[in-house]
Every structure is written in structure tokens, then in C-alpha cells.
């Protein structure tokens, strides 16, 4: 395993990534439970130094994929390579994992717990203690480290679990819905930490339903449905490829213009504003004129489709 050929990244990435090589590559990975196919022929590549979004509806195979990546289950077919080598137990110490379902020993003290999990990842007692204290400070948990886990609130427990996932400074960090249950202030701290780590060259895999987070944080995504990748690659390019067919309108008054089938293919009312998908070949200016005629228009913006829209669109198509 001394000389490993790093595969060249797909051309559209263009950047320095192709020089660094990939962090994680799944090719033709398949996992079945009895008759049920959880993941079938999944192929994706994750590059270091960024946040990769793993998206998909419930039961699409996200968690099954992550569990195979974490070595908890073994794929029935296909290959997983990590840092250019086939996945093995030896990689576990370089992985940090925050599962969707959080779990900690309730009766253990926070510091003991962090040190225990850190030692499982190969840290020494003193090093683990030192790092646990530093991170606890950053997440404002310092006054809680001597308390038992069960005395902490859900959000604090989640912070503890997040610290446990990154305590050993892993090269690959896998986060399954990391923001659920966190208040906005803590979510910002967590987001900042994730971005810092991405900048320092770590690879972060973010699995979530929250399209807004993916839109803000991720450079690349993989959308899976029924265990298959239906959309994979650089987020900006995916969006650009979908064209500018969307208009956001903030208005006050008669919404008759939304019923104009010639111009509006579909719309989604968010309350404060409405997002309109233009019919093929429709002119956005014509819609503006129509809206202007019946309502007071506060904002009218032509934009790329939101990830949510792409998601619903692609999932709908792949289900059909």
C-alpha cells in the first residue's frame, strides 16, 4: 500500500482538488437487508477540505451509507476507499462520527465521558483531558464537566457528543443532522467549528434534510433516493445547470397573476413571499407586468432554483 494512485477528480471541479486527491470514494456500493435494498450501486467521491452534503428523503439510504463508511456494517458489494486505501478498521481512529441518534452514558461525568471516548480513539488520558477542557470552554460547557450527563439539557448533551466526535482531531468527520436540537447561538458556534475544520483541510460529510444548511455550508452534494445517487457534484454547477426559472415575489393584494398557467408552471407560497416556477419559455418580465397590474409588488427577484426545489423535483422524477 505504499504507492497509491490518487484518482483524478472530475473535470468540472477544476480547482486544486484534483491535486489533493479524494478523501472518500464509494463505487458501486450495495447493501441489502433481506429483500429490502437499502443502498444500491452507490458511487460518490468526497474531496478533502470542504463540507459535503449527503441529502435524501427519509429512508433513502443515508444512514445505511454512513454506517458502512463507519465500518459498523459491511457492504454486500462494491468498494469503499478512504484516503486512497480500502476502508479498514485502522481508519477508525481518523474518523469522527456524530450519529443522528445521540447517545451518551447517562451516569458518567461529562469530562470522564469525553476522555473515555477520546481514549477509544487513541488519545492518551492527559491529552484527552486537555482537549476536552479546551473544547468545553469553547462550547461554554466548562462549568458542567464535573456533572453527570443526565443532568445536562438535550442541547448541552448534543454539544458534548459533538466534542466527542472531534476530540481526536479526525481527518474525516461525519455528521448526521448535527444542528437539530441546538439553539441558534449554539448552532452558529457549531457551524463556525465545522467551517474552520473544513478550511484546515478536514473532510466533512454532512447528512441532513435541512436544505438551507446545505445551501449555505456545502460545496458539493450527493442526493440519494432509493439507495441510488440521483444527483452528485458541485452545488453551484448543479444549480447553474438547472437554469434560472425561478422568481421570488413579495407582494400585497390580489394574487390572481399566480393562476396564469401560460406563465406560471407552479408556485410555493411561503407566507412572506411566494416562489414561482416559470412555465417553459415564459418571460419573467411579463409576469412582473401582470403582478403589477393587480397587486403592490415589494420585491421581484429572478433567481436560481433553491436546493429544496431541486430536491423535490429530482426526487419526484426518480420516484416516477
Amino acid at each position: 500500500m505504499s504507492s497509491v494512485q490518487a484518482p483524478v477528480a472530475p473535470a468540472f471541479n477544476g480547482s486544486a482538488r484534483s491535486v489533493v486527491g479524494d478523501a472518500v470514494q464509494l463505487s458501486g456500493v450495495r447493501k441489502c437487508y433481506d429483500e429490502f435494498v437499502a443502498v444500491s450501486d452507490l458511487t460518490l467521491t468526497i474531496y478533502p477540505g470542504g463540507i459535503y452534503g449527503l441529502l435524501g428523503p427519509n429512508g433513502a439510504g443515508k444512514t445505511s451509507t454512513i454506517r458502512m463508511l463507519m465500518g459498523i456494517t459491511v457492504p454486500d458489494a462494491g468498494q469503499i476507499t478512504v484516503f486512497g486505501q480500502p476502508l479498514s478498521r485502522a481508519h477508525m481512529d481518523q474518523f469522527g462520527y456524530l450519529p443522528e441518534e445521540r447517545g451518551l452514558y447517562k451516569k458518567m461525568k461529562v469530562l470522564d465521558h469525553l476522555v473515555f471516548l477520546g481514549q477509544l480513539k487513541g488519545l492518551s488520558n492527559t491529552e484527552a483531558t486537555k482537549r476536552a477542557n479546551t473544547w468545553s470552554e469553547r462550547f461554554e460547557l466548562s462549568s458542567w464537566v464535573e456533572r453527570k450527563v443526565e443532568e445536562l439539557s438535550k442541547g448541552m448533551q448534543q454539544k458534548v457528543q459533538f466534542i466527542a466526535a472531534i476530540l481526536h482531531d479526525p481527518r474525516l468527520i461525519i455528521m448526521d443532522e448535527p444542528f437539530t436540537g441546538l439553539d441558534p447561538a449554539n448552532a452558529v458556534v457549531l457551524k463556525d467549528v465545522l467551517l474552520e475544520m473544513a478550511k484546515s483541510g478536514k473532510t466533512i460529510l454532512l447528512s441532513t434534510h435541512r436544505m438551507d444548511q446545505v445551501e449555505r455550508l456545502c460545496q458539493s452534494i450527493c442526493l440519494i433516493n432509493h439507495g441510488r445517487a440521483v444527483l452528485e457534484g458541485d452545488l453551484n454547477q448543479i444549480k447553474a445547470g438547472c437554469g434560472r426559472h425561478n422568481v421570488q415575489i413579495k407582494y400585497d393584494g390580489d394574487a390572481r397573476f399566480l393562476q396564469e398557467k401560460r406563465l406560471v408552471q407552479s408556485f410555493n407560497d411561503y407566507g412572506n413571499y411566494v416562489e414561482v416556477r416559470l412555465a417553459p419559455g415564459a418571460d419573467s418580465q411579463e409576469l412582473l407586468r401582470l403582478a403589477y397590474a393587480t397587486a403592490r409588488v415589494d420585491r421581484f427577484e429572478v433567481m436560481e432554483p433553491s436546493l429544496e426545489e431541486i430536491f423535490i423535483d429530482v426526487v419526484g422524477k426518480s420516484n416516477a
Binding site: R67, M70, Y97, L117, Q119
Partner: protein, 429 residues
Amino acid sequence: MRNTWVILKREYLERVRTRIFLVLTLLAPAIMTALMVLPAKLATMGEKPEHIVIVASTKEFGATVRQQLLAEPLVSEENEDDAAKRKPETSYTIDIDTTASESGRTVLRGKITTREIDGFLWLTDDAIAAHTVAWDGREKAGSREKAWIRDAVNRVVQQQELGKKGLTAEQSAELLKPVEIETFRIENGRQIRSSGSGRFMEIIVMVMLIYVAVLLYGISVMRSVLEEKTSRIMEVLLSSASSTELMTGKLLGVGAVGLTQIVAWTVMAGVIALPSLATQPNFSELQLSPLVMISFVLYFLLGYLLYSTMYATVGAITTTEQEGQQLQFIIVIPLVLSVFMLAPVLRTPDSAAVVWMSMIPFFAPIVMYARIVVQTPPLWQIGLSLALMVGTIAGLVVLCARIYRIGVLIYGKRPNLPEIMKWLKYAKA
């Protein structure tokens, strides 16, 4: 290796720091002491002297028999030493009645009914001549009571007869001096003075310790496996360590707790309990040979580990504690069965059935240990039973680890047997 050690350390510390460990460490010796001392105390406490009447033709003959009865201690088979302490002088009040008539007999029987006396001995000259004396008592005379009376009466009659033949009292006493039997047990060529009761105590101590340890810590293993499953921390653990490492660490940690407990008890027994126990007659019989002591520790630890592993497996299969508790009775069955088997083991420790029973890992901790205590079986049998236990534990750990690992994917209801088999198939790699 590193992971196993880290997990072992956590399991050990988390248990040793609990209150229940402290309580058990302190309380168990007290309970054991009470168990050993109390029955003896209870047996002697509140015992009134028995009131016996000897019906004889002459006062002199009655008096001689009474003297003889009081001089000879009542010999008990199960509890020689205890009986030696119970001097007949304090346990019996013996009156002599010379009104040997049928009406007198009816009166005495009436007195038994009204509890004025406990029994009477019909020792008239006619009865002696017929070589049949009658004992009427509220309770049917036990074999040792019968022997006691028979020996005393025989002795007096024989002495009288010898006296008639012209022998002096000393001569006849010399002639009638009984032969005593001392019993020894040979272990590894060494002679060990023993009585059944001391042996039995050792085995009971073992049974009690294993039972207590298995019930308390076995269930705590089951709980901790269940906790990891329900709290879903197992997913984090499994991303750091293999399930076999996890299970091995967990069980060794629990084993270390058991070892600590034993050491603590031994030290406490040496410091506190021994002086008080030494005065107990049964305890002086408790001469532990090195072989017995080593096998005690080995069989205790392995038995405890084996049963803990079974509890861990139940924890891996079930999803809630209630379910686990429903299943755990299955685990205790072999333990209870081994206790039932103790009687045949003590009687015929080397019968084929007992030998094979002692090889079965689930029975070995009690049955094989009992065999070692009573008779020293061939070393290869001890070795084989130990090896079988270690093998079974290792096999169970692997099995349990697989079920545990697959359990991460499963929620909700308890799997049935075919489903468990399927899990094992998934977990092969």
C-alpha cells in the same frame, strides 16, 4: 487491545464507584456470618430440658440407667461437635418411677399428653428379662436417641450381668469400653480431618457467592448492554471499537469487579470475621487446602463470567429491561439445577453421571467445585472442565458481540430465533 482495555477500565470504575458495590462488599460478609452462626444459635436457643421418666422395678437400677444416660453424650451424625456441646445434664431432666403397673403406665401416657413429661422408658425387670424395653414419647424417638437409650440400657444391663458373674466394676468398665471411629479424608496424599458439615459449608459459601454475584452483576451487565442499545451510544462505540472488543472489555471489567469483591471479602474475613468465626465449631473444620482455594477462585470467576456473558447475550437480544427480566429466569435454571445436584455429588462424587455433569460449563462452577471439595477428582477432569468453561465463555462473547452489533440496526420488538440467526449471518464479516 487498547480499546478493550479502555472499555474494561470504564466498566470497572463505573461499577466499583457505585453504592451497591460498597454495600455488597460490606454487607455480604455480615450476612454470611449470620447464616453460619444463626442456625446454631437458633438450635440451642429457647430449648427447654426434656423431662423423661424411667420406670424401673428398683430405684437403684433406675438411678444407674439415669447416670449412664447422662454420662454418655448424645451422638449426632450430621453435627458431632454441636452434639458434644449439648451435655445431657442440661438437656434432660430424668425422674425415676418405681410404680410399675399398667395403671401407672396410663397415668404417664396422660402426662405426656398434658406435656408434663416428654416421654418415659419402661425398664421393669420383666422387660429387661425379655430384652425389650419400651419408649413412649410425644415424638417418635430418632435413630440417635434410640441408640443413645439402647447403648445406656445395654451397658447397665451388661454391667449388672458381668457383676453377677463376679467381675468388679472396673473390670466390666474396661471390658465394655467402646471403640471410637475417627474419620479422615485423603487429599493429594495428605490426611485431612474432616466431617461432612465443614465440607458442606465450603460448597454453600461457593453457591451463595456465585448466586449473589451473578444476580447482582450479571443483571448489571444486561442492563449496561441494554442501556447502550436504548441510548444508542453503541453507534458511537462501534465507530471506535469492534463489538468483540466492546464485549470482551465489558465482561473483563465486570470480572475484575468480581475479583475485587472476593479480595475485599477475603481481607475482611481475615481481619474481622475470622476471630469470631473461629469459635464456631463448623469453622474449625473449614481447613482449606491450596487446591480448594485456587479452584474456589477459578470456578467462582469463570462461573461468574460465564453467567455474566449469558446475561450480556440476553441484553443484546432484548430491547427493554422488562423483556430481559422475563428471559433471565432461563439463565438461573442451570444454577438452581446445580444446587439440586449437590446431594448426589456429595454422596457419589465420582459416579459417571456426576463426572459428566461437572464437565458441563453451566454446572461446573458448583458441581465440579463440590467434587473438588469432597474428593479431589483427577486433575485432567478439572483441567478439562476449566478449558470447556473458558471455551464456552469465548464462544458466547463472540456470539453476543455479533448480535450486539446487528442490534444497532434494530428497533422495537424483540427478535425471534430465526431473526437472530439472520442477524448472525449479516454480522459474519
